[in-house]
């Protein structure tokens, strides 16, 4: 229980630090929230200044930060000047899309990576092991945007199998039945998820392979064999299951880079998610939206890593132990 409260507190500190740093960073960047759209708009600096004042973006960083914190305390993330809506609404629209993309990718990449890693570990040193290792690594070595573009061109243009970006076919009638909507959503998910999975699967497979090989050498695996448990069962129940812990933990650690990858993938696939929202907000100097995105993203990361820790604690009960650890400087 203490551990949980401590995690939450740590998470809170992290979020606060990130929010403050982002707030300062974004505001120090040259530019103007109302000047980024068009360079020759007749929006003179005087007018821009007036608009800034109207949306509470004037004054020193300190006072702005104080205002922002005050409104944050009321649950208000501020107003997004580039999308003309409260930041919370902009994020509420984008977050589910990103969660869908990242969530689906994580699930598939982890299932695939864990399976591939198991196949590799089972045939350690063999041709299958090497091939899987090499192929997944190549996927990992390609720049995100390049892979996304190639996937887009291949899947949507050359093969004409999947739609060109977007979360859904927006021209579908509103009253379309749910199987149609579901299929449509799935079709749109395929390419971006595939891209993300290719980028993600290599480290998972690698870690799973290493962890499995490590566990296969553990003494408890030998104990299980000595008990008469069949090889497959030993592999699955004693080695594989315990090797999942580090992989899950890595999933928590990898979350920020997934949000980072989303910046590229969401742009190429016109996916209206957080990565794109944040990148476009940066370009538009939409201060509140940038900070809001980073804030919510960090909350997601913190929650995600807590979740990952929870799952790995569930997978490995040793991790739930808190407080006194015998043998730490004691005789």
């Amino acid at each position: 229980m203490h551990a949980l409260i401590q995690r939450i507190w740590h998470g809170f500190v992290v979020i606060a630090l990130v929010a403050t740093a982002t707030f300062v960073l974004v505001r120090l960047a040259p530019g103007d929230p109302f000047a980024a759209a068009l360079e020759n708009a007749r929006l003179t600096p005087a007018l821009r200044e007036q608009w800034r004042a109207a949306y509470g973006l004037d004054g020193s960083i300190g006072t702005q930060f104080a205002h922002w914190i005050a409104s944050l305390a009321r649950g208000d993330l501020g107003f997004s000047t580039s999308t003309n809506q409260p930041v919370s609404r902009a994020i509420a629209a984008a977050l589910p899309n990103t969660l869908l993309l990242i969530g689906t990718s994580i699930v598939i990449a982890f299932m695939l990576g864990i399976w591939l890693g198991a196949v590799q570990a089972a045939g350690r040193g063999g041709i299958v092991d090497r091939c899987i290792g090499a192929i997944t690594l190549i996927g990992n070595a390609v720049p995100d945007f390049w892979l996304a573009l190639v996937m887009l061109l291949a899947g949507s243009y050359w093969l004409r199998l999947f739609p060109v970006g977007g979360v859904a076919d927006l021209l579908l009638p509103l009253g379309a039945s749910w199987p149609v909507l579901l299929l449509d959503r799935a079709r749109h998910l395929v390419l971006p998820v595939l891209t993300m999975v290719i980028l993600l699967v290599a480290p998972i497979a690698r870690l799973q392979r290493t962890a499995l090989l490590d566990r296969l050498g553990a003494e408890w695996v030998r104990t299980a064999t000595a008990k008469g448990v069949a090889r497959r069962t030993v592999f699955r129940r004693h080695a594989w299951r315990t090797a999942l812990g580090p992989v899950v933990t890595m999933g928590g650690i990898a979350l920020p880079s997934l949000f980072g990858g989303a910046v590229f993938i969401e742009r190429v696939f016109a996916w209206p998610g957080m990565g794109r929202l944040a990148a476009e907000a940066v370009a538009a100097r939409d201060y509140h939206l940038v900070v809001g995105c980073v804030l919510v993203g960090t909350v997601m990361v913190v929650i995600g890593s807590m979740l990952a820790d929870h799952v790995s604690a569930w997978l490995d009960p040793r991790l739930t132990q808190d407080g006194f650890e015998p043998g730490r400087g004691l005789a």
């Binding site: 409260i5 401590q6 507190w9 808190d322 407080g323 006194f324 730490r328 400087g329 004691l330 005789a331």
Partner: protein, 364 residues
């Protein structure tokens, strides 16, 4: 609930003949348990509680007890590797706990430490020559070629070949590594060495070599040892006096002869009787204690041994009174309220212990 009786003896915790080289008084160490917001201290483990003893120059004081009893912590506190929570440590007239910074570092050359684990106690990235030389360098005892000569002679003194100085620890066996550890300690010419289970990780055949080496060194260099161990066979062989610890407290202290022949504390008796004797014909009426030692994070009230104690007079007082360490016989201290001074053989399953004393050496 606790009737706290001061367990601090008034003095004379050594053999009383001379001024002690090392004097420990009321040493306590509490480890915090951290947790919660801001990593605050949420609890504590009393690893060592109110430990007092003297060590006279040239003697070997053994501290015995099972793992978790606080013996290693006591040793580390004396060395200031762990900062004690309370108490005082006087070495050669100097209050060790008041030293700071450079003075402390300078003092360290007089008190050295040999570790239990010959694998972990050597830096695997340093040649053993460098390891032995480090103390010389730190205390500027020798430099350059002189230092190398010193290293070589030290290595030979502990039974290592001088040309091995450029090798790395992993190229050596456990016994050889322990010799390196000893050479490292000797390099700074200490008067006093804390031996923290120096032979318990070694094979029997090698253990004897190291024990002999330690004895030779003590004789040749006039060293004083604080010998921490759980193997009573080795303790009996090496120690002049023995301190028995249980759950952070001293429960008994006497000269080796007395302790091994007339242990007062039930715990000491159990400990002695638990040792498997390498003699298939020896009678076996062993005292087997129930249960596990309690956790130091949650020690029992009163006498810490009471939950496992088999003393026939054990009663409710044992659960309430923390027994003071009293001199029950000449130089024989024990912490038991059921054992009046002057008596020792109260219910002893004597045969077990006697057999130990009289075990016939085979193959002679």
């Amino acid at each position: 609930m606790n009737t706290v009786v001061s367990s601090r003896p008034t003095g004379g915790l050594g053999d009383g003949a001379t001024d002690p080289l090392l004097s420990v008084r009321g040493l306590s160490k509490t480890f915090p348990i951290r947790g919660g917001i801001l990593n605050r201290v949420t609890g504590s483990v009393r690893a060592v509680t109110d430990v007092s003893f003297d060590v006279a120059a040239g003697e070997t004081l053994a501290v015995v007890g099972e793992s978790g009893c606080g013996k290693t912590t006591t040793g580390r506190c004396i060395l200031r590797l762990i900062e004690p929570t309370a108490g005082s440590v006087t070495f050669d007239g100097v209050d060790l706990l008041s030293l700071r910074g450079a003075a402390l570092r300078a003092m360290r050359r007089h008190i050295q430490l040999v570790f239990q684990d010959p694998y972990a106690s050597l830096n695997p990235r340093m040649t053993i020559g460098d390891t032995v030389k480090e103390g010389l360098t730190i205390h500027k005892l020798a430099e350059g070629a002189a230092a190398d000569r010193r290293v070589q002679s030290l290595m030979e003194e502990v039974g290592l070949r001088r040309e091995w100085a450029t090798r790395y620890p992993h190229e050596f066996s456990g016994g050889q590594r322990q010799r390196v550890g000893i050479a490292r300690a000797l390099a700074v010419e200490p008067k006093f060495i804390v031996l923290d289970e120096p032979v318990s990780a070694l094979d029997v055949s090698v253990q004897a070599q190291v024990i002999n080496l330690l004895q030779d060194l003590q004789r040749d260099r006039g060293l004083t040892y604080l010998f921490i161990a759980h193997d009573l066979g080795v303790v009996e062989h090496l120690a002049t006096r023995v301190v028995v610890m249980y759950l952070g407290r001293i429960v008994e202290m006497a000269t080796a002869d007395v302790l091994f022949s007339e242990p007062i504390m039930p715990y000491t008796q159990a400990l002695l009787s638990a040792i498997p004797l390498p003699d298939p014909l020896a009678p076996r009426d062993r005292i087997v204690l129930d249960g596990d030692p309690p956790s130091p994070a949650d020690p029992p009230s009163g006498c810490v041994f009471h939950p496992r104690c088999f003393h026939p007079d054990k009663d409710v007082a044992c659960t309430q009174v923390i027994p003071p360490l009293e001199e029950k016989g000449p130089g024989h201290w024990a912490a038991c309220i059921k054992q009046p001074a002057g008596t020792s053989d109260f219910f002893l399953p004597a045969a077990a212990l006697r057999s130990r004393r009289t075990a016939v050496s085979p193959a002679t």
